[in-house]
Amino acid sequence: MMRRILTSLLIASTGAGLLGLAGCGEREQTAHYEDGRYRGKPDTPPYMAAPFGGDVMKYENAMRTRAQNQNEYNRID
């Protein structure tokens, strides 16, 4: 009799433990985000245009010089 009670208690506790572990199998709640990739037409960089002819350094120097034109402290002394 005692043995049967112990067996049933063991089965019940094992079942409860398994049920409790089932909670650990929760699925991810956040959406998986995939980075989009540009699907339009390719664009040519500005330094490929006629004034620069593909010379990146020439383009960057021109941009830097042009940007410094916005600094009026360069014009006064």
């Binding site: 037409k41 245009a49 004034p51 620069f52 990146v56 383009y59 830097r64 940007a67 916005q70 402290y73």
Partner: protein, 221 residues
């Protein structure tokens, strides 16, 4: 490569709207589309501040993230552009943009919302540089001509600066140092607040010792 940015100095902006006009005129922008606009805070109150706002060409642009057809791309200069042939005019980018930069032409019947239009940093779009197709869809490509955006170059008080972020930061720093104030007007502390009781950084003229040079660059010319 450069990282193209705009910066607007609220201490200098006089709300003349010449940047808005320059943009409209340069790109032949239709009625109802404003790639750039001037926003005034505390309008009519003494001490009001104005700032010129357009696409900020974000480093991590939310418009690019939400576009369902992936029509956005970023150039090597850091300019955020889009392909109008691919755009479906859904307006997601408008909701995502914190600056309200994406614009939609609404000149048709029944509340038609056309393809998105926004500031291109005067860099055109994915059409041959300087072509008629590029001008019709995106406006003039000034970068390919070795020029900077028309709005910044047109600004009469040089409140609006455009170009490589590093160069602009140097210009602005020199300016703020020379006048002894300004960086606190539109900056981190204004946007996010300053902790209670923490004073702002002392101005150069408040500091004891030799006075800051007039040109503000440490005496170098």
């Amino acid at each position: 490569m450069a990282r193209m940015k705009f910066i607007c100095d609220a201490e200098r902006c006089i709300e003349c709207n010449s940047c808005v006009v320059a943009c409209k005129q340069e790109h032949n922008i239709p009625w109802g589309v404003n790639r750039r606009r001037v926003v005034t805070l505390n309008d009519g109150v003494p001490g009001e501040r104005s700032i010129s706002a357009a696409c900020m060409h974000c480093s991590d642009a939310p418009c690019m993230a939400v576009c369902p057809v992936d029509c956005f791309y970023k150039t090597a200069d850091g300019v955020v552009l889009h392909d109008k042939d691919l755009c479906i005019g859904c307006g997601y980018c408008f909701y995502a943009c914190p600056f309200g930069a994406p614009q939609f032409p609404q000149d048709g019947a029944f509340g038609l919302r056309g393809k998105m239009d926004k500031c291109t940093f005067c860099a055109g779009g994915p059409e041959p540089d300087g072509s008629e197709a590029e001008f019709q869809k995106y406006g003039r490509n000034r970068l390919a001509e070795g020029k900077l955006p028309a709005c910044a170059e047109m600004c009469s008080t040089k409140a609006l600066l455009g170009g490589d972020g590093d160069v602009l930061a140097d210009i602005y720093r020199q300016r703020a140092m020379a006048r002894g104030k300004g960086s606190e007007v539109w900056g981190w502390a204004t946007a996010y607040g300053r902790p209670e009781g923490k004073p702002s950084a002392p101005r150069p003229q408040d500091k004891p010792g030799p006075k800051a040079p007039a040109n503000g660059n440490g005496g170098k010319s």
